[in-house]
């Protein structure tokens, strides 16, 4: 009986300890690493000999909170001149963490690709080619040619960034590949920019 009492005492102490030590950790702030808050499209004119001329035109889409309900992103209108050729570069950043994601996309070029869609291409107002270093289909650098007769002054361009896709899927080498979903992977960005022709 004495033994039993001892066992009970030990057990009670052990249990008290077990229950007392079972506490959740204090929460920590988590900076969303995956989130893209700023996407900037930079256009610079190319002359007849494909040299860069003039100043850089910059148009931005931003969503400072990342993915948070109730906030909608701000998207600037792209304003380009008819009949001209531009070099377009894309910069992607996470302002919450102060991170430049462009470099990451470039490093993982084999797993990423931009596709360009929307009315500007459907109505042949724009034509586009990948112009990334090494001749790869990535889309961080492209050449955009604006048609000289657009009929309208207002249109739109949809920019999609996919990752984990099969880049050798038939048709995926085309920057205007509308069935990009079929190449597999996931969407990182899907932004529709208004386009104004001048």
């Amino acid at each position: 009986m004495k033994n039993l009492r001892k066992v009970t005492l030990y057990l009670t102490t052990l249990l008290t300890l077990a229950f007392a030590s079972c506490k959740s950790e204090d929460p920590t702030k988590e900076n969303d690493g995956e989130v893209i808050t700023d996407v900037t499209l930079k256009f610079q004119e190319l002359n007849a000999s494909n040299a860069l001329v003039g100043s850089v035109l910059s148009f931005k889409a931003s969503d400072p909170q990342g993915i948070e309900v109730g906030k909608t992103p701000t998207i600037q209108s792209i304003s380009l001149a008819k009949g001209k050729k531009y070099q377009m570069t894309i910069e992607v950043a996470n302002a919450i963490k102060g991170e430049d994601i462009t470099q990451e996309i470039l490093t993982e070029a084999a797993a990423h690709q931009f596709f360009f869609l929307g009315q500007v291409f459907d109505s042949s107002f724009f034509s586009i080619q990948y112009a990334d270093a090494g001749g790869i289909a990535l889309g961080l650098k492209t050449i955009v040619t604006v048609s000289s007769s657009t009929g309208t002054n207002n249109s739109s361009m949809r920019v999609v960034l996919r990752h984990s896709l099969n880049k050798s899927f038939p048709g995926a080498s085309n920057p205007n590949f509308a069935n990009f979903v079929q190449a597999g992977g996931e969407t990182d960005l899907d932004i529709t920019f208004p386009v104004i022709f001048s």
């Binding site: 079972c22 204090d26 920590t28 900076n31 948070e68 993982e108 597999g184 992977g185 996931e186 969407t187």
Partner: protein, 768 residues
């Protein structure tokens, strides 16, 4: 045995002799039970001295003695290892009904075996179990898939590897799973979070289909699943069991070993150690492979027990770890991706067979330790104590950029302490029952460094409960009732951006049940149980705020949600004769403030694209349905079975249907046994068919309509071979023999892919 036979013959002759003498037409019915746990005793011998007549009890402990003469009689009941009962009774006119409880003999007598203490659930609710042969057939499948064999139980699955059991239309946090008597506490709230348990550790899987909050605590609203290992051996005998399983689909292999034995020196000391491991690759549908659907799983359990006549102690530990691939196509970036793949109805990726796992995937480990003791204060009173510790670690990986790809985007650690102290009484009169205290404590933490705002906050939970159960048993009648009160406190804290959000919520509730069993005649029994249950809102329902990765959905929790309260009435009729068994269960479950995820119809636009917005709402719900199962022996060799279930569930406030309610289904089969020798059941062929109807009661909003109904054919062959004194069983099974392409409504991946195609399975079971 011979003695018994002679006695029986004598009894027969004697009763024939007395039959003509006087008005001897009385009937004595009775039941013989174990005093310790109220389990029926089979083959106990009942003898009436004056009438010189006797009979042995059947599997349910029942006996009937007919053609008895009125007047005083001495009844004598004997059963090995139990104290003999000798009692004087007086037989009156009509029928007489008595219940006897036999007490185990004290071990002091040398040579008397100490019995393993098996906890049995005493309930008047409908109960179904898988054990023995039926359990062998499902070996190698996960818990959800295994339990599908029981009528009224279906699965809610996410692909072919993740499945959760559904009892009468309810799943996840609305049912309970007990691992050797301890409430399994994992992250059960998620649809893609499978129970962290390996069915190999059990020698019996039991489903209780009623509201059992009183006995087991909050959340046991739809039912309870008991995963019970065999009782530990108390004698020196050593048993080893080996299972080898291979599947053609997924090219999987599964090895499971268990070894149990007892000490020769210390009487009453027994142990068991058991482990299993499984590896599988991509699943194949009739027309394509599902990319990234492989998995690996390892589990281990061990138990050590010591019992004497008064004391029973047991220490138990189980470990479970799994790495599961998630169909890569099911992980979509935004709504337009999701709609594209739903429109396609099949994955875009042209996957090949592979064992390797990539993101998205889950890595889960679960540890469970418990100690248990009971002490017989006297033959009628028993004091029980049980403590369990659980640690659950869940990591979910998404397809991410760069270094983030190696980091989980959900990383949760959950610790749970459970302690239970209860006092059982099993009086020699007709009363049994228990009174107990139940404490649950839980701490959930998000492991920092995921780079994703956590889906659920860190929290601490304490739940205290006190309960009382009482049962009255007399002859063919059992009546029971119970009461319980629970108090729960939940305190949460998390960062939303830079803002610290802290909240403390409390819930309290009472629950009660009444039930009864009536053995109408030795073949037919009726049970009825009416119970209330409650479930406090889960942390995800309260606090979800943000993107559900992969589902292209934004889910909004609501901290104002109140507890769900339900009242469930289950009625069941069981018929058992020599050739036929039949079980019919009918139930109705009224749930007040049922919590469900409702599409708001709004979309949310971000740089990543558009998402559907869902919110957690509450409404009154009504579930009702029928389960039917039966077997019939056409001859000794030729047997058939059929079972089916029907569920209806409605939101009675909006008069609409809930999503993911199982459609009507049934399966039936025929088996033929044959062999060379007298034991002509060494070989068996089984042909079965599963029929599933289309769910025509669809919710107002669904991403795609319910898939059409389907029929699957399965064919199996099993053989028992004697290897010396040991038994070897070999079975070959073809599931979905015709390679039918189908989609199951209860599979969340029906949006993206067809279900598993044909599978050949080879199974070896060897006991030595």
């Amino acid at each position: 045995m011979i003695q018994k036979a002679i006695l029986l013959c004598l009894a027969l002759v004697a009763s024939l002799g007395t039959l003509s003498a006087q008005q001897c037409d009385l009937v004595l019915r009775g039941r013989v039970l174990h005093l310790e746990n109220n389990q029926p005793i089979e083959a106990a011998y009942v003898w009436l001295s004056e009438s010189a007549t006797g009979v042995a009890t059947d599997a349910n402990g029942n006996f009937v003695l007919k053609n008895l003469c009125p007047g005083p009689q001495t009844i004598q009941i004997t059963f090995l290892g139990h104290k003999e009962i000798k009692q004087s009774i007086v037989l009156n006119s009509g029928s007489n009904n008595l219940t006897f409880k036999m007490e185990e003999e004290v071990v002091a007598l040398t040579g008397v075996e100490v019995h393993g203490h098996r906890e049995v659930v005493q309930t008047t609710t409908a109960v179904s179990s898988l054990y023995g042969e039926a359990l062998l057939q499902v070996r190698g499948e996960n818990l959800g898939e295994s339990l599908k064999r029981l009528s009224g139980v279906t699965t809610f699955s996410t692909g072919s590897t993740i499945s959760k059991p559904v009892i009468h239309g309810l799943h996840s946090n609305r049912i309970l799973i007990l691992n050797n008597g301890i409430r399994l506490e994992g992250q059960q709230w998620g649809a893609e979070h499978a129970p962290e348990i390996d069915p190999f550790l059990a020698d019996e899987l039991t489903v209780i289909k009623g509201a059992e909050t009183v006995r087991f605590g909050p959340e046991a609203m739809g039912g309870v699943i008991l995963v019970n290992p065999a009782p530990l051996p108390t004698s020196k005998k050593q048993v080893t069991e080996l299972n080898l399983i291979g599947n053609s689909n997924g090219r999987s292999g599964n090895v499971a070993v268990s070894h149990s034995g007892g000490s020769g020196k210390i009487v009453g000391l027994g142990y068991r150690i058991q482990g299993s491991t499984k590896r599988a690759g991509n699943i194949q549908t009739p027309n394509y492979f599902q990319g990234n659907t492989g998995m690996s799983e390892t589990s281990l359990s061990s138990a050590l027990g010591y019992s004497t006549d008064k004391l029973g102690t047991e220490a138990y530990y189980s470990f479970f770890t799994t790495e599961l691939g998630i169909l890569s196509d099911a992980h979509t970036g935004n709504l337009s991706d999701l709609l594209k793949i739903i429109e396609n109805g099949a994955p875009f990726s042209n996957a090949e067979f592979s064992y390797s796992l990539a993101n998205p995937k889950q890595v889960v480990t679960h540890h469970l330790g418990k100690i248990k003791a009971h002490y017989h204060l006297n033959p009628s009173w028993k004091l029980n104590f049980q403590y369990g510790f659980q640690s659950n670690h869940r990591q979910e990986y998404d397809k991410r950029r760069g270094e983030l790809n190696t980091r989980p985007s959900l990383d949760l650690e959950l610790f749970t302490n459970t302690a239970e102290l209860f006092l059982d009484h099993n009086l020699k009169s007709h009363w049994t029952g228990s009174i107990g205290l139940h404490l649950i404590q839980q701490a959930n933490s998000n492991v920092p460094g995921t780079g994703v705002t956590p889906l659920i906050p860190n929290y601490d939970l304490v739940n205290g409960g006190i309960y009382l159960l009482e049962k009255f048993q007399k002859g063919p009648l059992e009546l029971e009732g119970g009461l319980r009160y629970d108090y729960r406190s939940l305190s949460t804290s998390r960062y939303l951006g830079n803002r610290l959000q802290e909240k403390t919520l409390t819930y309290q509730n009472g629950s009660a049940f009444v039930g009864g069993l009536y053995q109408i005649n030795p073949k037919l029994a009726f049970t009825s149980n009416l119970g209330t249950a409650w479930r406090p809102p889960n942390v995800n329902e309260l606090f979800s705020q943000g993107l559900h990765h992969g589902a292209a959905a934004v889910e909004l929790g609501d901290t104002q949600l109140i507890s769900e309260k339900s009242i469930k009435w289950v009625n069941s009729l069981e018929f058992e004769s020599e050739k036929t068994t039949l079980e019919l269960t009918a139930y109705a479950n009224q749930i007040r403030d049922y919590i469900y995820l409702n599409p708001t119809g709004e979309t949310f636009v971000s740089l990543r694209g558009t998402f559907n917005v869902y919110e957690y709402l509450q409404a009154d719900a009504f579930f009702y349905g029928l389960d039917l199962s039966g077997t019939y022996s056409f001859s000794k060799q030729f047997n058939g079975y059929a079972k089916g279930s029907i569920i209806r569930a409605k939101n009675t406030e909006t008069n609409s249907y809930f999503p993911f309610i199982p459609s009507d289904r049934m399966d039936w089969g025929l088996s033929y046994s044959f062999g060379k020798h007298a034991d002509n059941d060494n070989n068996r062929i089984t042909l079965s068919q599963v029929l599933v109807a289309q769910q025509s009661r669809e919710p107002d909003f669904d991403l795609s309509p319910a898939p059409p109904g389907y029929a699957l054919v399965n064919l199996g062959f099993s053989k028992k071979i004697k290897v010396g004194a040991n038994g070897l069983r070999i079975s070959v099974q073809a599931n979905n023999l015709l390679n039918t392409e189908y989609k199951e409504y209860m599979n969340r991946f029906r949006y993206f892919t067809a279900d598993m195609g044909r599978n050949f399975q080879l199974k070896l079971n060897y006991q030595f």
